[in-house]
Amino acid sequence: MAKSVMGRRAFLATTSAAGAMVLVAGGNLVIGGNGAWAMSTKALTGDEAAMLVRMARATYPHAMLDDSIYGKVIHGLDEKASADPALLRSLQEGAAALKEKKFETLDAAGQEAVLKDIEGSAPFQTVRGECVVGIYNNPDVWKVLGYEGPSAELGGYINRGFDDIDWLQDA
C-alpha cells in the first residue's frame, strides 16, 4: 500500500456530508476510513474510483460499514474493467456524471435523488449488481447484520440456539 500524500486538513476537506469518508491521493489511489484503508486502481483513476465508492455506499447505505466494504466491490470492478474497455468506459461515464452533480457534497437524501435519476443507466446497474452480491456476500458484513454464516462445521444449531427465542408470549 502506498503512503498517503495528503495531510489531515486535506483529508477532512474531502469528507462528504453523507459521511462517506473517501479521499483521493495521487493518480490511482483511494484512501478512506481516516486512513485506515486504501486501495490502488488499475484502470480507473483514483478520483473515478472514489466517486464509485461513494455511489456504492449511497446505493446500499449502512452507517456501520467501513469504506473498505464498498471499496472492495469497486476494486473488483476496476480489476474487471482493466480487461474490458467497454466496462471501463461505462464506469468512467458513471463517475463523470456524479462529478458533474457534485455528488460528494450532497447529503444522503440528495445523493439518493441523484442516483434515482440515473437508476436505469448501465453504470448504475453495473455498480448496483456488483454491490448487492459483493456487499451482502461478505462475512464481515454478516457479522454486523447478525447473520452467522456457515454452521455445519460447528455442528449446526441443534445445541446452539435453534429454538432460543425468549420474547414470545406464547409459542
Partner: protein, 523 residues
C-alpha cells in the same frame, strides 16, 4: 456393484434425469431386476462437496443453461434469464429441495369437477383419484422418512417456526405444526437426524434430508442393474418407422455424442427440459415433436402461486438457525371460493441467509429503505406462500426461434401470465401472512415477489383422453407405448402442496406398471 451397459444394448430402460421422479423410478426398476441406464445432465457432487455457501452452491449445482422468458409474470422482469431455480446435478432438485412432503387433498385430483369452469383456465380432472394414490403415498412417505407419518416424530420447531406458530395461534388458525418433512427427526434408513444446520437449499451436509443422490441412486447401483451416467445431456429421443422409441442421443462431458439404445425411455428432466426434449425430437413422422398429437406438449405450464412474507420484529429471531421449511399453517389450503378465488395455499416457514435475502427480498431494490430492511435481518421471520395456480394453455415452454444452446439446439422460452385467480390468491396470502406476524408484534412486513420457479409443473399433462393431454394415468405417453414421462410435468393440475411427494409416489406407481408391462412383453 454399479452396472455398465453397452450403448447398443437395447434391453435397457433409459431414464433421463435423476431427481425425485427419475432417481426414484430408476431405483424402483433396478430393485425389480430391470436394467436401467440413468442419464443425468449434471455432475455428481456428493455430500462432502456441499458447502454452507448460498452463492457458491448456486453456481455449483443450479441449472444455468440459457433460457428466455416472456409474459407478464414478475420473474420475467426480475430474473429474465433464470425462469426456474432447479438443480443440474445427480439427485436433481432433491439436492436443494426443502423437504416438504404433503399429500394432495381429495378434491385436488378433480378440480374441473370441484371448481367448475374458470375463464381462461384449462382445467381438467386427473385420471386418478386420491384413493388410488394412497397406497403409493404410503410407500413414498415410508421411503423418504416423512415426519408425522409412519410413527415418525415431527421435527422440533426452530425460532422461525415459533414466531409463525405464535402468530397462527393469535390469529385463530388451528392446523399448524412443523410439517411433514422428508428430513430425519431421528436416525433412519442409514442416515442421521437433522442437526438444525440450516442451508437446506445448499445440499444437506448431514444427509438427514432425503435426496435421491444418497438414497435411491446408490441403492439402485447396489443391485447391479443400474448405471448412472453423469454429465450426459439428452439431446434427442429417437424412434423407428413403427413409431416406437429406440434410443436416446446424448452428449457426454466432453461434448461427444452417443446413442444409447433402449427398450423403454422415461423422461424426467423437470417441466422445462422434458417438453423441450420432446419438441427437439421432432421428426418427419412426428413433425410437432414426440407424443404431441394433442398439441399439449409444453403447454399448461404451472409454477404455483408463490410469494413470501418477511417481517421485522423489535427483538432477535435468528430465523437462519435450523431447518429451513419445518413449519406450516394449513388452514388456508382448502377450497373456499368465498375468499374470492378457487383452490388454496399453504404458509410455510422460509429463511434465506443475508446473501440471498439481499438478492430476493425485493429484487432490484436499493437505497435507504432497502438497507434499513437488511439491517433488521437478525430480527426477521419469514414464510413462503405456495398455492394452486391455474393451468393456462398459453403458459408454455416453446422452442426459441433463434437462440441456440451449446449443442446447437433451440433453447426453451418460458412464457407465463398470472391468471386473475392466481393474483387474487396471492393478495389474500400476502394479507394473511402479514397478519400472522402483525399478531405477534411485527414492526414491518414485506411482500416479497416470487423467486425463480422451484415448482415447475404440467407441461406434459396426464389425461384420461388422448386429445386432452400427453400421458395416461401411468405417465405413459398416449402416442408412444414405450415412452414415459416421470416428473412433475405429468401433473394435470398443481394442487396447493409442494409437489415432490406426489412425484415420488407417481414414480413408484409407474415402476410397478413398467415392470409389469415389460414382464408381459407389452412394451
Amino acid at each position: 456393484m454399479a452396472a455398465k451397459f453397452e450403448l447398443n444394448d437395447d434391453s435397457v430402460v433409459v431414464v433421463i434425469g435423476s431427481g425425485a421422479g427419475g432417481g426414484t423410478l430408476s431405483n424402483e426398476l433396478a430393485q425389480k431386476g430391470v436394467k436401467v441406464v440413468l442419464l443425468e445432465a449434471g455432475g455428481r457432487h456428493e455430500i462432502e462437496d456441499f458447502s454452507n455457501d448460498e452463492w457458491g452452491m448456486f453456481s455449483q449445482i443450479s441449472w444455468l443453461d440459457k433460457r428466455t422468458t416472456s409474459g407478464s409474470w414478475r420473474v420475467a422482469k426480475d430474473f429474465s434469464g433464470l425462469p426456474a431455480w432447479i438443480v443440474k446435478a445427480v439427485g436433481g432438485s432433491t439436492v436443494h429441495w426443502a423437504g416438504a412432503s404433503l399429500r394432495f387433498q381429495e378434491h385436488e385430483f378433480r378440480v374441473k369437477s370441484a371448481y367448475g369452469d374458470i375463464a381462461g383456465a384449462n382445467l381438467l380432472d386427473w385420471p386418478i383419484s386420491l384413493a388410488e394414490m394412497e397406497p403409493y403415498y404410503d410407500r413414498a412417505e415410508d421411503k423418504m422418512g416423512v415426519t408425522g407419518t409412519h410413527g415418525i416424530p415431527r421435527l422440533p420447531g426452530n425460532n422461525n417456526f415459533r414466531v409463525l406458530a405464535a402468530g397462527a395461534k393469535k390469529l385463530g388458525y388451528k392446523d399448524f405444526h412443523t410439517g411433514n418433512m422428508a428430513i430425519n427427526s431421528q436416525p433412519r434408513d442409514g442416515r442421521g437426524a437433522c442437526q438444525q444446520i440450516g442451508f437446506c437449499f445448499q445440499g444437506c451436509k448431514s444427509g438427514a434430508k432425503w435426496s435421491t443422490l444418497y438414497t435411491e441412486i446408490p441403492k439402485g447401483e447396489t443391485t447391479g442393474n443400474m448405471e448412472v451416467r453423469p454429465s450426459s445431456q439428452a439431446l434427442q429421443i429417437q424412434h423407428n418407422d413403427s413409431g416406437k422409441v429406440t434410443g436416446v442421443l446424448y452428449a457426454d462431458k466432453d461434448g461427444n455424442q452417443h446413442v444409447q439404445k433402449a427398450r423403454v425411455v422415461a423422461v424426467a428432466g423437470n417441466s422445462i427440459e422434458s417438453p423441450r426434449l420432446l419438441l427437439n425430437s421432432a421428426s418427419a413422422k412426428f413433425p410437432d415433436g414426440l407424443a404431441n398429437s394433442s398439441g399439449q406438449v409444453g403447454r399448461n405450464y404451472m409454477r404455483h402461486m408463490t410469494g413470501s412474507v418477511y417481517a421485522i420484529f423489535d427483538k432477535p429471531v435468528h430465523m437462519h438457525r435450523g431447518t429451513t421449511m419445518a413449519g406450516i399453517i394449513k388452514d388456508e389450503a382448502e377450497n373456499k371460493p368465498e375468499r374470492g378465488f378457487v383452490g388454496g395455499y399453504e404458509m410455510e416457514t422460509l429463511s434465506l441467509g443475508v446473501p440471498f435475502m439481499a438478492a430476493f427480498l425485493d429484487p432490484g431494490a436499493w437505497g435507504r429503505d432497502f438497507s434499513s430492511a437488511m439491517e433488521g435481518y437478525a430480527n426477521m421471520a419469514g414464510m413462503w406462500l405456495v398455492g394452486e395456480d391455474m393451468p393456462q394453455e398459453k403458459n408454455a415452454i416453446t422452442l426459441h426461434a433463434t437462440e441456440k444452446d451449446q449443442y446447437g439446439l433451440p433453447v426453451p422460452n418460458v412464457h407465463f401470465d398470472d391468471h386473475p385467480n392466481d393474483i387474487a390468491m396471492r393478495e389474500h396470502a400476502y394479507k394473511q401472512g402479514s397478519a400472522v406476524y402483525e399478531a405477534v408484534g411485527a414492526v414491518q412486513t414485506f411482500r416479497t415477489p416470487p423467486y425463480p420457479s422451484t415448482h415447475n409443473l404440467g407441461t406434459n399433462r396426464m389425461s384420461g383422453k388422448a386429445s386432452d393431454g400427453v400421458v395416461n394415468k401411468h405417465g405413459q405417453t398416449h402416442d408412444i407405448a414405450n415412452l414415459f414421462i416421470s416428473d412433475g410435468s405429468q401433473f394435470t393440475t398443481g394442487a396447493a402442496e409442494n409437489p415432490t411427494l406426489t412425484i415420488v409416489a407417481l414414480a413408484i406407481r409407474q415402476a410397478d406398471y413398467i415392470a409389469d408391462k415389460m414382464g408381459k412383453n407389452e412394451i
